[in-house]
């Protein structure tokens, strides 16, 4: 009885949906997190009688034939790229990206990774790093004696020294954009790696080439919408139960089959 196996594919698909939803809800407060959505596609169709073939019994042409579906499979888990709301933190080195783009950081291996988590800190020697300590490209160092720093929307970072009125330019942040940001590989800790699917990083200054601008003193919230997630959760749960019902019914039919004598 294939119905049993088909319903099992349905149950495992709904289970994967619940896992995706729990990951989203768990990251409700993760800076710059984008919600994921599980997508499904139907499985291969068994062509029991292809449409257009000649019916062997009376020579007529079958108009639609018999094509029986074999269930469902998860086709992708897509990142829903959406701007999260900005919350004010007042931190000198908290920067939110308004619009598209990622900050580039250097991993200990020397590889580049990309993040939208703009909660930056100075390291022991003044270098601007992420909360995990990865240096932000291009390496900008804040001198010890800087009184305050200011970052404008184009990513230029200025420092004020002593009682001097005019600021000194320390450097400029760059942003990286991708043809297909959904194709980035998530490696955890809010970091992403470039892949063949994402296309190469197009590094430019904030505000040009379709990239977003920076805002000092703000952090981007997670774009998870709790109401939506919980609605989806209920749907997934009911979908799971429906498939379980099919298993029970198919089982009872199978048991009727074994009773034929």
């Amino acid at each position: 009885m294939r119905a049993l196996r088909i319903a099992a594919t349905g149950m495992s698909a709904q289970q994967m949906r619940v896992e995706t939803i729990s990951q989203n809800l768990a990251n409700m407060n993760t800076t710059g997190y984008n919600a994921r959505r599980a997508e499904f596609a139907d499985l291969h169709y068994q062509q029991m009688a292809r449409p257009g073939t000649i019916n062997s019994a009376d020579g007529t042409i079958l108009p639609t034939g018999i094509q029986l579906g074999l269930g469902v499979r998860p086709s992708s888990v897509t990142v829903q790229i959406a701007q999260g709301s900005l919350s004010q933190t007042g931190g000198d080195l908290d920067i939110a990206i308004e619009g598209e783009g990622y900050l580039e950081v250097t991993l200990p291996s020397g590889q580049s990774a990309y993040t939208r988590d703009g909660g930056l800190k100075p390291s022991a020697d003044g270098l601007i790093v992420t909360s995990d300590g990865h240096p932000v490209v291009p390496g900008i160092t804040i001198p010890d004696d800087a009184r305050s720093i200011s970052i404008n929307s184009d990513g230029e970072i200025y420092a004020y020294f002593g009682d001097r009125v005019e600021a000194e330019l320390l450097g400029q942040f760059t942003l990286a954009g991708f043809s297909n940001a959904k194709g980035l590989e998530a490696i955890g800790s809010n970091l992403f790696l470039e892949t063949t699917a994402s296309g190469p990083a197009l590094v430019s200054t904030p505000g040009v080439d379709g990239l977003g601008t920076l805002r000092q003193g703000y952090l981007e919230d997670s774009s998870v919408d709790a109401v939506r997630e919980v609605t989806e959760l209920i749907e997934a749960q009911r979908g799971y139960e429906l498939n379980a019902k099919v298993i029970t019914a198919a089982d009872q039919m199978l048991s009727a089959t074994t009773q034929i004598r």
């Binding site: 029986l68 469902v72 043809s179 297909n180 194709g183 089959t257």
Partner: protein, 238 residues
């Protein structure tokens, strides 16, 4: 030999197929753009002999694809499109064209609009759609015109199969138009929405219970027929 048992068996094997179709519908209750299937039973009349009546049997021989519009769900995605009305999106796959109502698209590494598994979406002229990387806002109007920052780029094509009866269902919520496609006008395209599966859980479960009971009835019938023949044989043989 009496034929009643065989007639019931044709019915049971048809119900078995229908159960498979229902299981597939329910398994795809969350599949974007899925079209539910049904079974059509037909009578199959078989001649038994010169002096006897013909035997009528059941055949689950034809499958139906229900073209009813599925409910639309708001997703807010830039490249999530739903069709209101008739028509399909046209995809270019390595093995040829395919039609789909699954409007969840994304851009690939070259900036072309593709389905989530990489099949390219075609415009109204049958060419791929390219999204410039520097575009900030992408909007799609009701007639499918796609604009980047207010500048029209391309028009998403909607198509119908030339002969709907020759559509071949294939994996990935797709239909292969074996008889070619024709453009479809007059349907509305919605951005930020997806068409959900048109499977109605209540109807499916009700149909499932019906199939299950019909199957058990058939099984009981065969059992009673067995008893009847047994009684006949034992009575006559006494």
């Amino acid at each position: 030999m009496d034929s009643a048992g065989y007639t019931t068996l044709t019915r049971l094997s048809g119900l078995n197929r229908e159960m498979q179709a229902i299981a597939n519908n329910i398994a795809n209750v969350s599949t974007t753009g899925f079209r539910k299937e049904g079974m059509l039973f037909s009578e199959h009349v078989s001649a038994l002999g010169r002096d006897e009546d013909s035997l009528s049997m059941a055949h689950a021989n034809v499958r139906l694809t229900h073209a009813a519009q599925g409910p639309l769900a708001a997703t807010g995605g830039t490249y999530d499109f739903a069709i209101e009305g008739e028509g399909f999106f046209l995809l270019q796959m390595p093995e040829g064209q395919a039609l789909t109502r699954n409007g969840a698209f994304t851009t690939n590494e070259q900036g072309e609009l593709t389905s989530h598994d990489g099949a390219r979406l075609m415009d109204d002229g049958g060419a791929p759609i390219f999204i410039p990387p520097a575009a900030r806002t992408i909007s799609v109007s009701a007639d499918g015109t796609l604009s980047a920052d207010g500048e029209p780029l391309a028009r998403i094509g909607l198509y119908m199969p030339e002969d709907p009866l020759t559509l071949l269902r294939t994996n990935g919520v797709r239909f292969i138009p074996t008889g070619g496609v024709v453009p479809q006008e007059g349907s509305v395209l919605l951005q930020g929405h997806l068409e959900t599966s048109n499977v109605d859980a209540v109807t499916e479960i009700a149909r499932m219970i019906e199939v299950q009971h019909a199957y058990t009835t058939g099984q009981k019938f065969i059992e009673q027929e067995h008893e009847r023949i047994k009684t006949v044989i034992s009575t006559l043989g006494r």
